[in-house]
């Protein structure tokens, strides 16, 4: 490939020369255009060459790098700024190819010292820009890249240490948010796997001093966020470490191993003799921009652990939680996830083609990373369904191993439900029911018989119940009955059906209220107006009042309940039918719900009617809020009322609470504008 492109480039050089000769007279514009097009074509080819180096090839990586370096060297005069830009982009966006591009720059530096210098300058400038524009990942990968350039003899160890010290100073700065200080500490540590050995060999005492400062900071700082972000309350069987603490331990272990790590592929080693003859550059000074109150820093995290080596079958060993290998693998997997989450098939393929997959139990690490993302607090970085659909793709691509690992993971999480954060519990319910719905709801429910003897409020019993409720939403009642063993009947959700208080042949048959309801139904079928409905209700259900008492804001709960339940009973066929009913008689509901007390009455009527159909409840309350028939405050007061206490531990209540809060936030945001 390299040879072909080389020839093509040489040919286009000649073509350009001929173009000059041909167009001495007119046609200057066409020549310029042709030249510009050719110029762009060559730039595109260069970009493609640079991006593709390191991909599968018949030649070795080293020979591809050598070839590419000589191709680029020839073009440095004409295409320098483009090449520089591409290389910096690769440094920021392709961190897993860091050592490939640093080697390339190392080779170019031996051929053209000035180019190496300009590269270094642009990298530092780009880091400053990234910090200024809060592109934290870009900045972190750039720092790693610049650190690795020390290994390629492009950057002097001393000047790198100076830069790292500036970052450490930022970590030690007083009076700024801890989240900022943590980021700087983390960023420095995350460069050390690449350059630790070199710094140890060349600048051991400076390195030790720097690490000492960092260690002091990391140990001294407050970690009140730790418990808020844990998935599991307990550190048994696996510790749930704060992210900076964990990396510190991993770096400490690396240090005790004399900074020797065998995971990172380092192409520059093959070129050591060439590279070590190059002149190094000093990094221009980089002082991180100061903190500004409006700056948002990346949130801290807790490292989610669910597996250790005993969980994996015979074969490659799972690297220990404090091994730097574990961190390196997880870094890379998370990066694949975040760069490819929009293309789930590509994402799954890339995750499974992780380069060193034969040396590690890859499926286990992938599953642990995926659940870590699903359970991330306060919120996952992507939609929960993104992770769910990627896991399905993983099962499709590796049907002999992935489904089993996922099943094992599910079992494991089921056993640890007791100490699980409640939000994560809900997310597990959502994920598991969604996953089952893609695999015909097949599961070995019998394995979970222990839940049968539990109190319904115990986590395992609750989990099974909530999972089946979600399965119901994705299918239908009879289906759910069929997928569980008969012994699990106690966990089955109710068959969703309306509990209409004023049914003609119900328990209140013959009463005034039931008669009113029947008249109402007839009137609605007759296509009466809202005014006629209000008049009917008033006539049949309002108690006779003296003139002085004729106030409209006295809440008549019976009237509200009869109307609400009758209306929604008529609309029971589907969500759309109910929504249409609400829309048609919107003004009646609005008129009836004129106080918070009345609105709570509406809510109670809806809940009594549809308590067996949680999904309908959520959807109706959402609609009532959206149409402002009820206010957020009414929903809040109703949810937290005494009568709702038995419902408190059920997922659907929290669905309602969350959607209400989100609506409230929207109102507030609108008012603030």
């Amino acid at each position: 490939l390299i040879h072909f492109i080389k020839r093509a480039l040489m040919m286009s050089h000649h073509r350009r020369k001929r173009g000059y000769d041909d167009d001495e007279g007119g046609g200057g514009y066409r020549t310029k255009k042709r030249r510009t097009n050719e110029h762009m074509e060559i730039e595109d080819r260069l970009e493609s060459l640079i991006l593709r180096v390191g991909e599968k090839s018949t030649s070795s990586l080293e020979s591809n790098l050598e070839g590419l370096a000589s191709v680029l060297e020839a073009d440095l005069s004409t295409y320098k700024s483009k090449i520089l830009k591409i290389l910096v982009e690769c440094a920021m966006k392709l961190p897993d190819k860091c050592t490939i591009y640093t080697t390339l720059i190392g080779l170019l530096n031996t051929k053209n010292y000035n180019f190496g210098g300009e590269c270094v300058e642009l990298l530092v400038k780009s880091t400053k820009d990234a910090l200024k524009s809060f592109r934290w990942s870009d900045a972190r990968f750039l720092l790693r890249f610049m650190s690795d350039l020390v290994n390629c003899h492009v950057v002097s160890a001393g000047s790198l240490l100076q830069l790292l010290d500036n970052f450490v100073d930022a970590a030690l700065e007083e009076g700024v948010p801890q989240v900022r200080r943590d980021w700087f500490a983390y960023t420095v540590l995350s460069a050390l796997p690449w350059v630790g050995r070199e710094l140890y060999e060349k600048k051991e005492s400076e390195l030790d001093r720097m690490l000492g400062s960092l260690e002091g900071y990391i140990k001294r700082r407050k970690k009140i966020h730790h418990n808020a972000l844990r998935v599991f309350k307990s550190d048994h069987p696996h510790p749930q470490e704060e992210y900076l603490d964990c990396l510190w331990q991993q770096i400490k272990r690396l240090r005790s191993d004399m900074w020797i790590e065998k995971h990172i592929i380092r192409p520059y080693l093959a070129f050591d003799s060439t590279l070590s003859e190059a002149l190094q550059h000093n990094l221009p000074s980089l002082v991180p921009p100061p903190h500004h109150p409006s700056t948002l820093y990346p949130l801290p995290t807790v490292i989610f652990r669910m597996f250790d080596y005993t969980d994996c079958p015979e074969g490659p060993i799972l690297p220990g939680q404090h091994s730097i290998e574990r961190w390196l693998i997880e870094e890379q997997l998370r990066h694949i996830l975040m760069s490819n989450h929009l293309e789930r098939k590509e994402c799954a393929a890339q995750l499974l083609s992780y380069p060193l997959k034969n040396k590690i139990p890859l499926e286990y690490i992938i599953v642990e990373v995926m659940f870590g993302e699903i359970f991330r607090l306060p919120n996952p970085l992507c939609l929960e369904i993104a992770y769910g659909s990627i896991l399905i793709e993983l099962c499709k691509l590796q049907p002999s191993t992935m489904p089993q690992v996922l099943a094992q993971a599910t079992e494991l999480l089921y056993e640890r439900l007791d100490g699980m954060n409640k939000t994560c519990f809900d997310r597990l319910v959502n994920w598991f029911s969604y996953h089952l719905s893609n695999f015909q709801f097949r599961w070995s429910w019998d394995d979970w018989e222990d839940a049968l003897t539990q109190d319904p409020e115990e986590p395992k019993a609750k989990f099974i119940r909530e999972v089946l409720l979600k399965c119901l939403r994705l299918s239908y009642h009879q289906r759910v009955v069929e997928i569980v063993p008969e012994t699990f009947a106690v966990f089955l959700p109710d068959k969703p059906s309306p509990n209409f208080k004023y049914a003609a042949n119900g328990q209140f048959a013959g009463s005034v209220e039931v008669r009113a309801s029947e008249h109402l139904i007839a009137a609605i079928k007759r296509k009466c107006t809202s005014e006629e409905v209000l008049a009917l209700l008033k006539q049949e259900l309002d108690p006779p009042m003296a003139e002085e008492d004729m106030e409209d804001n006295v809440c008549n709960p019976v009237k509200i309940e009869v109307f609400t339940q009758t209306l929604l009973f008529l609309g029971q066929k589907s969500f759309s039918h109910s929504f249409a009913a609400i829309a048609k008689f919107y003004s009646v509901l609005k008129s009836l719900g004129n106080t918070e007390e009345a609105q709570i009455c509406i809510l109670r009527s809806v809940v009594d009617l549809w308590k067996s159909h949680q999904q309908m409840l959520v959807v109706l309350i959402d609609k009532l809020l959206k149409t402002q028939i009820v206010e957020c405050a009414a929903v809040a007061n109703w949810v937290f009322s005494k009568e709702m206490v038995p419902e408190f531990s059920k997922c659907y209540i929290w669905e309602i609470v969350h959607l209400t809060i989100r609506k409230m936030n929207k109102h507030v945001a609108k008012l603030q504008k």
């Binding site: 970009e47 991006l51 969500f575 759309s576």
Partner: protein, 176 residues
């Protein structure tokens, strides 16, 4: 900088063109590029609005679901429209829901220019979707044998009214 891998963009509209669309190709593309409505295909006739709501809510807040109906019987005939408030939520469905299962069937999502009254009805001669009209396979979730096969079985007429050279429509592109 392109990241080197060329992956088909899931948000590109399919080659389908609604032959009843009232506008030019450009107008179609313009509508598609701003829409937050999805067409959902390959549903079972028994899949309910509730199930659809449950699955698609994973991607965002749904404005409206319009069930596709048999033109004569007015019963669901295996497709629907899902309108989101936000286009980004519709695009998320194409990334994460398209090609996964609902009611044990792989469903298809496609950007739709927007619901107009009348589009909720099947356009097959028998009242359902065109893709069912000439379907030669048995699909228990979509009425078993297709209408033309049923007609053949009933009348013994081998020709079965199969139209030659009929233009392929989106429904035809659905996969089971």
């Amino acid at each position: 900088v392109t990241m080197g891998t060329i992956v088909p963009d899931l948000t590109q509209p399919s080659p389908y063109r609604d032959r009843y669309f009232d506008g030019t190709e450009d107008e179609w593309l313009s509508a598609i590029s701003s829409t937050s409505t999805l067409y959902i295909g390959n549903l079972s006739f028994y899949t309910t609005e509730e199930q659809i709501h449950s699955l698609f809510s994973h991607c965002g807040s749904i404005k409206r679901i319009i069930m596709g109906l048999d033109k004569h019987k007015k019963t669901p005939c295996g497709f629907c429209f899902v309108e989101f408030y936000l286009r980004s939520d519709a695009l998320a469905c194409i990334k994460y829901v398209n090609g996964t299962k609902l009611d044990d069937r792989i469903i298809r999502t496609d950007l739709d220019p927007g619901f107009r009254d009348g589009r909720q009805f099947g356009r097959g001669r028998s009242g359902g979707q065109v893709r069912d009209e000439y379907r030669a396979t048995y699909d228990s979730g979509r009425g078993g044998w297709g209408p033309s096969v049923k007609a053949t079985l009933e009348t013994g007429d081998m020709d079965g009214g199969f139209k030659k050279g009929v233009k392929r429509t989106r429904e035809d592109l659905d996969e089971d």
